[in-house]
């Protein structure tokens, strides 16, 4: 899962988007327009971010869209390729590509099962850490978080070893149950992703829990609520925004699964070169067919955006109710 990278680049964008829309509404109510104070200072502070944001975010996106609109023309078996504008030709190929859509279906299945399990565990651990009953909080906080410090590729290699039929230290199990078979490999990968990211999500949720004012707990206790009731009726509703945030990160990460299946591909017969959407992009760019790979990427980005946005809208409406 490329989640550690993707959400980090994505999050400032979505936060910025929200802020921008709020900012756009606010001044509309105040009629007299005043010159912006400290304009130079603002620009000076924004410039480093703006430059990097443009260079490493906007320009690559623009370049990918530009590439996806080109097609290659050449003459002869070794003719020099020229890129010409091809409109939506590459996108037609994307929508005709069966394995790509199968892989989207596969990661959605993955997400529907894995994300709730992972976030459920993360929430449970965060609540346990936050409850006054647990001792050794510092130790557990670190212990849960340690897997996240292991690079995804290394985690996948390590688990691949644990799963391997003959070499695994648990070969009594793996000889009888082949975790790398077509039936199980998706869930074997889900286990790796869960192992890595539970601690990361736990930490986000836990820090939200720490921000809750303790008076609320006192009030709840005075009303006769036990720890479980406090967790259910006070804590969880208050940290809902954090849970939604981790859910969106996870949805994005799921659609962008690459490292784990890429590693598993070398030792599992069930992982093909089009197992996940990002593997398809990778394989296509290694043909190399950069234009089609760019079109795949743009479609994948749109799918990710639509899914995250729908989830956000859905949960926000629920919150209002």
């Amino acid at each position: 899962m490329s989640a550690p990278v993707v959400p980090l680049t994505d999050a400032p964008g979505s936060v910025a988007r929200q802020k921008r829309s709020r900012a756009a509404k606010a001044p509309a109510s105040k009629q007299p327009r005043q010159p912006v104070p400290h304009l130079g200072a603002i620009l000076a502070f924004v410039l480093p971010f703006g430059t990097l944001f443009a260079l490493f975010y906007l320009v690559p996106i623009g370049y990918a869209i530009y590439q996806s609109l080109l097609v290659i023309e050449r003459e002869g078996t070794f003719g020099k390729a020229t890129e010409v504008f091809g409109g939506l030709t590459q996108y037609i190929l994307v929508f005709q590509n069966g394995p790509f859509w199968t892989s989207i279906g596969r990661v959605l299945t993955f997400g529907v099962v894995q994300v709730p399990i992972m976030l459920g565990l993360a929430l449970l651990f965060a609540l346990l850490l936050d409850s006054p009953l647990v001792r050794g909080k510092k130790f557990f906080r670190l212990a849960f978080f340690v897997p996240y410090a292991v690079p995804g590729v290394i985690a996948a290699i390590m688990w691949g070893y644990l799963y391997s039929p003959n070499l695994s230290p648990f070969s009594a199990v793996t000889e009888n149950i082949n975790f790398l078979s077509a039936d199980l490999v998706l869930w074997a990968i889900a286990n790796v992703v869960t192992w890595v990211f539970v601690g990361y999500n736990m930490l986000i949720i836990y820090s939200a829990l720490l921000a809750i004012p303790t008076e609320l707990y006192e009030a709840a206790r005075l009303d006769g609520a036990g720890q479980v009731r406090i967790a259910w009726s006070v804590k969880i509703p208050l940290i809902m925004p954090a849970i939604i945030l981790t859910a969106i990160f996870s949805i994005i990460g799921t659609l962008q699964l690459l490292a784990e299946p890429q590693v598993f591909r070398s030792f599992s017969s069930a992982v093909t070169s089009t197992f996940t959407p990002n593997l398809t992009v990778y394989s296509t760019s290694s043909i190399p067919n950069f234009n089609l790979a760019a079109a795949f990427s743009v479609v994948l980005a749109l799918a990710t955006f639509i899914l995250s946005f729908t989830f956000l809208k859905f949960t926000q409406r629920k919150e209002v109710q």
Partner: protein, 440 residues
């Protein structure tokens, strides 16, 4: 006012985007047809995955202070280095020299990534220095062009556990029919005669090569894709039968499980190339001294044919500012006794240069193989490799798609022949998508 400013900012960003993309797209400078030596000091970069290349470059750097070659290492070609090369070519910052296997050369040529070295001093003349079929791989059958300098070849033979065959009184198979019979006997002892490579498709291609097939044809106007040629289907049916009867293991190649199968004596033979000598020695260290090498089993008794697996060349990428110096380095690297001896020692490379075949290092017995002079076998196999096997312009895709199908076949969904049929179809689409002319 604010709106105007925002519009201006957007315009500026758009302009920056266009400028950046524009320069990326337009920066495909070519080296030009002439190939003249540079004046002054030259720094060259060379990306390779061959172990020990740094030491070889160091030897030459010390002798030629004016041309310094810096070696960068990466994973093997299809393991990621080719992808890097393609990306670097697209971005216009490819290294001067690159390690490219023969099967990937057409791919790089179609992407306009290779410098034609024919104009560089000594390159055309070097033709007679190399084993014939290897030169055919680097000039694509064109007399006036040379797109890379051959480095090594991968004539295939059969590595086998001499001790196990002898102890169990099983004859060393000389035909594929005998191989299948031996496979049953080996299985009866609990082992497997060999491992079928489900994801390194080069081994299968080598089998097809030996059987006299070829996967591609190029008549100058159109490519023909021939993954389902009669020879190819024959080889597929043969191995499918062994897989169906559980007579061969199917561990994914180059994994710990695969090494373990050889190291523990569960797998008895490996049909592989000369450089494979190194892979066994490093992957199955506990079996030292127990291996021997014989010529590959034949399709008909008395035939003399060998396949080829791998082998690579040193290419000069488009965009290199010093094609002359790069070409001279590539010639020295692949023809001098000094370099070839070092490469054989560090990576078991089997030279493509004729003179390299006479090196003392290639005449001696090899300890891991019970002091058998194994390169004599590979030398004989090398003479039997057909020069007619042609690689296509999208081999990475062909391997991916074939492997996707083969992986299914070894786990019981579909057959090897189904995999070839589906890869045939997807390969034609892949060529069409790049406007590479192809017969349907």
């Amino acid at each position: 006012m604010r709106i105007k400013k925002r519009a201006a900012a957007v315009a500026l960003l758009t302009a920056a985007t266009v400028a950046l993309t524009g320069c990326a797209a337009g920066s495909t400078t070519s080296a030009g047809a002439d190939c003249a030596p540079a004046t002054g000091k030259v720094d060259l970069t060379f990306t390779t995955w061959i172990p020990g290349m740094e030491d070889v470059a160091k030897v030459r750097n010390e002798k030629n202070p004016d041309v310094q070659v810096k070696v960068q290492t990466g994973p093997n070609g299809n393991g990621g280095t080719y992808q890097n090369f393609f990306n670097q070519l697209k971005a216009g910052n490819a290294p001067d020299l690159g390690q490219i296997e023969y099967d990937a050369l057409p791919n790089f040529r179609v992407q306009d990534g290779l410098t034609d070295l024919a104009a560089c001093k000594g390159v055309l003349e070097a033709k007679s220095d190399f084993v014939d079929w290897t030169w055919g791989q680097v000039n694509f059958g064109e007399d006036k062009s040379v797109y890379a300098i051959p480095q090594d070849a991968g004539p295939m033979a059969m590595f086998y556990r001499a001790d196990l065959f002898e102890a169990n009184n099983i004859a060393i198979p000389t035909t594929w029919d005998e191989f299948a019979v031996a496979a049953e006997k080996v299985r009866a002892t609990g082992g497997y005669i060999t491992n079928f490579s489900q994801s390194d498709i080069n081994q299968f291609a080598g089998f097809v090569w030996q059987a006299g097939g070829s996967w591609f044809k190029n008549d100058g106007e159109n490519w023909t894709v021939d993954l389902t040629s009669p020879e190819s289907v024959k080889v597929a049916a043969y191995w499918q039968d062994l897989i169906d009867r559980d007579l061969v293991s199917t561990n994914p190649p180059w994994t710990d499980e695969w090494n373990n199968a050889y190291n523990s004596g569960s797998d008895w033979t490996w049909n592989s190339a000369a450089w494979g000598a190194n892979s066994i020695a490093s992957g199955a260290p506990d079996t030292a001294g127990k291996w021997s090498v014989a010529l590959s089993p034949q399709w008909a008794a008395g035939d003399k044919a060998a396949g080829n697996w791998g082998g690579s060349s040193t290419a000069v990428f488009k965009g290199s500012k010093h094609p002359y110096e790069a070409a001279q380095f590539a010639l020295w690297l692949n023809t001098s006794d000094e370099a070839l001896t070092m490469l054989n020692k560090s990576a078991n490379l089997y030279p493509a240069a004729k003179s390299g075949l006479e090196l003392p290092a290639l005449k001696a017995g090899v300890e891991f193989y019970g002091n058998q002079p194994i390169y004599d076998v590979f030398s004989e196999a090398s003479d039997q490799v057909s020069p007619d096997f042609i690689w296509g312009p999208t081999m990475t895709q062909v391997y991916n798609d074939t492997s996707d199908g083969f992986k299914g076949a070894v786990t019981g969904s579909g057959t090897l022949t189904d995999a070839l049929t589906s890869a045939q179809k997807s390969t034609i689409s892949a060529l069409e998508a790049q406007s590479i002319p192809v017969n349907k």
